[in-house]
Symmetry: C2
């Protein structure tokens, strides 16, 4: 703490620290949340997610849509699924992937808008 803080400043600072402590997530939740952001922080996986935001796709079609190799796409989908970014269901021989829920759709939308602020 800066040595020349006034008493009022010190009190405000204490209040801030308390607010932060009260609001802060547990280390476990923090780690989970960070892992979920990390799942969508690789261009390859983000591309998959954006493709899925147009509608459900099986692995083969996804692979075509994003232009990759089957094994890589499958690994990427596992990361997305483990982090509840996408969901999977079987249909015959195929596994169909979809965006997990509305929170994820909203994140995509918000991130796109954030990006548009650059222009």
């Amino acid at each position: 703490m800066a040595i020349n803080d006034s008493p009022v400043e010190r009190a405000e600072h204490e209040q801030r620290l308390q607010d932060v402590r009260r609001t802060m997530l547990s280390d476990e939740k923090l780690a989970t949340m960070a892992a979920r952001f990390k799942a969508i922080s690789e261009p390859s996986r983000l591309k998959i997610l954006l493709a899925l935001s147009c509608g459900e796709l099986c692995v083969e079609h996804l692979t075509q849509a994003v232009g990759g190799n089957q094994s890589a796409v499958s690994h990427q989908l596992k990361t997305l699924k483990d982090n509840k970014i996408v969901r999977a269901r079987r249909n015959g021989k195929q596994i169909i992937y979809t965006v997990a829920d509305e929170h994820i759709m909203l994140m995509i939308k918000t991130a796109k808008e954030h990006l548009d602020c650059d222009e």
Copy 2:
């Protein structure tokens, strides 16, 4: 493409691929968006962001709030700032950091809600 797709299925599939192509971001935008998610995908940086979501803080107070070392926090803030997650302004000797904008606040809120779905 699966060899036994019916003509109707093939047409639907073509439609899907076109939708994806039309909606897909450029490689550059994809990279930028991914980098921004990556910025908030490390527990240390996410913790800083959550602290700032309670209100602005200078580096020293932030360092106390998240419990780290000054150099590390400074590096983390640079990553967040470079990716437009936070903003900085000078006030005397101090640099005050704030959450960049409402998009980021919404992302935090949405991510928290997504997390709450686990329980």
